[in-house]
């Protein structure tokens, strides 16, 4: 496998969860990686990069009064940084690989439906498991309503960051005050 380009940049990362799970995370100093087939950026521990507010909004919407936010720092390291346009060709090729592989096996191609990004998940996992060794993956997620008419700024935009290995996390997990 090829090594993903390296960055020694360290970013603040927030993880929305429940109060009980936050306590467990702080105790274990570990977030168990998510392995759902619909996780947008493939398998790993998910964070909101540099956005406590967005993590808090998400956690409160999902867990209401049980919501909590845990913070830490993540070093990008070997990073599949989808802000870099040169990854577009890799994504395109990975999509073609997936379609060809599924066709050969007589299996359907996964689909993206709303927030369940099964196709994206399969493609990112293929890249991160078969093509490039990566510690982190990051991408911009645009969601929410335009803030004013014709605006490209949307209310819930954020950077999603996935740590594929615990070694990418370089600071202690702490529960954020006010969460």
């Amino acid at each position: 496998m090829l090594p993903a380009p390296f960055s020694d940049r360290v970013v603040k990362a927030f993880h929305g969860t429940t109060i009980d799970k936050a306590a467990q995370i702080v105790k274990d100093q570990l977030i168990a990686p998510s392995r759902n087939p619909y996780d947008w950026l493939g398998h790993g521990a998910y964070f909101w990069e540099e956005s406590y507010e967005r993590a808090r909004q998400w956690a409160e919407k999902k867990y209401h009064s049980e919501a909590a936010v845990v913070s830490t720092e993540v070093r990008l390291g070997r990073c599949i940084n989808l802000f870099d346009a040169s990854w577009a060709s890799v994504l395109g090729r990975a999509h073609e690989d997936l379609r060809a592989r599924r066709a050969a096996l007589g299996q359907p191609v996964p689909q993206n439906r709303g927030g369940r990004r099964e196709l994206d998940c399969a493609i990112i996992n293929h890249i991160a498991e078969d093509l490039y060794e990566a510690e982190t993956i990051r991408a911009a997620y645009l969601e929410g309503e335009a803030i004013y008419p014709s605006s490209l700024f949307v209310g819930l935009a954020h950077i999603q960051l996935v740590a594929r290995t615990p070694n990418a996390v370089v600071a202690r997990y702490e529960v954020e005050e006010g969460s």
Binding site: P3, P5, I80, G92
Partner: protein, 275 residues
């Protein structure tokens, strides 16, 4: 970004049929590159040992070496064992240049090539799939190629060769090229190349740099650190005795200006006495 590549391939020791087949595949790769705005250097058209027998060996080595090291990636035809291909792959690997190993499907690929730890991408091709697989490989490598271009440009500014020449002239005299080359076990031309070329082309090994540093009685940092700042004693004293240094000492440590010089002298004497 217009990419540059080098086509590393066996050129000799091939039967006529093998050569025809290999060169047909090479021509396909050349056409694909040209159609995709990739500048490609293929030695078979320039420095072939039997087709261009009058080109001196030193020139061939030098040209092919530079072409490899100027490339964003290299394409390695793995059909047959080849000294040249092995050397070119090693040079690319040492300069962190990604490689596409292009292997005929069903044929074994040299373990020396497969064993290169990273920055290689193997494609196993038939004549029908070569173009598609080659293009796919380039697209998969793109993030690496873009990043490498960026940092090699920065590294290339490091004046390693210039430093070696300046330090050699300072310490051994203006006409000391032959003398230093001899001490290092190099020819004068080899040392001249290192002194004159940007570091991404000369790429002196760590061992060689350490040896040069040892012979010239300097540190590796003086040779190789792009951020190294050579402070003469006069300049160092100027900085330490400057208004700003005294202000800083006062602000951070509460040392009065009058006491600063006295303390500095005492500290330096203490350091010298320990040497």
């Amino acid at each position: 970004m217009r990419l540059r590549t080098y086509l590393a391939s066996p050129l000799t020791g091939l039967s006529p049929e093998e050569e025809e087949d290999l060169f047909r595949r090479q021509d396909l790769i050349i056409r694909v590159c040209e159609a995709n705005n990739i500048e490609i250097h293929a030695p078979k058209g320039v420095t072939h040992p039997t087709k261009h027998p009058d080109i001196p060996a030193g020139f061939v080595n030098s040209l092919d070496r530079e072409k490899v090291l100027e490339s964003d990636f290299i394409v390695v035809m793995t059909d047959k064992p080849s000294h040249g291909v092995g050397i070119e792959a090693e040079k690319a690997s040492n300069s962190l240049i990604p490689m596409i190993l292009c292997s005929p499907k069903g044929q074994r690929t040299s373990k020396m090539l497969l064993g290169i730890p990273s920055l290689k991408h193997l494609i196993e091709v038939t004549p029908e799939t070569l173009e598609q697989e080659f293009l796919r490989a380039i697209e998969i490598l793109r993030p690496l190629l873009a990043t490498r271009r960026e940092w090699i440009h920065q590294l290339g500014q490091a004046p390693v060769g210039t430093r070696i020449r300046e330090l050699r002239e300072q310490r051994m005299g203006q006409d000391s090229l032959e003398e230093l080359a001899s001490k290092l076990g190099l020819t004068p031309d080899e040392l001249h190349y290192i002194e004159e070329k940007p570091v991404y082309l000369s790429n002196p090994s760590a061992i060689l740099l350490m040896r040069i540093a040892d012979v010239l009685q300097v540190s590796m940092a003086e040779l190789a650190d792009p951020h190294y700042v050579d402070l003469s004693s006069e300049r160092m004293a100027e900085i330490l005795l400057s208004e700003s240094a005294q202000e800083l000492a006062k602000a951070r440590f509460g040392i009065r200006r009058e006491d600063y010089k006295r303390l500095l002298r005492r500290k330096l004497q203490d350091v010298v006495s320990r040497l």
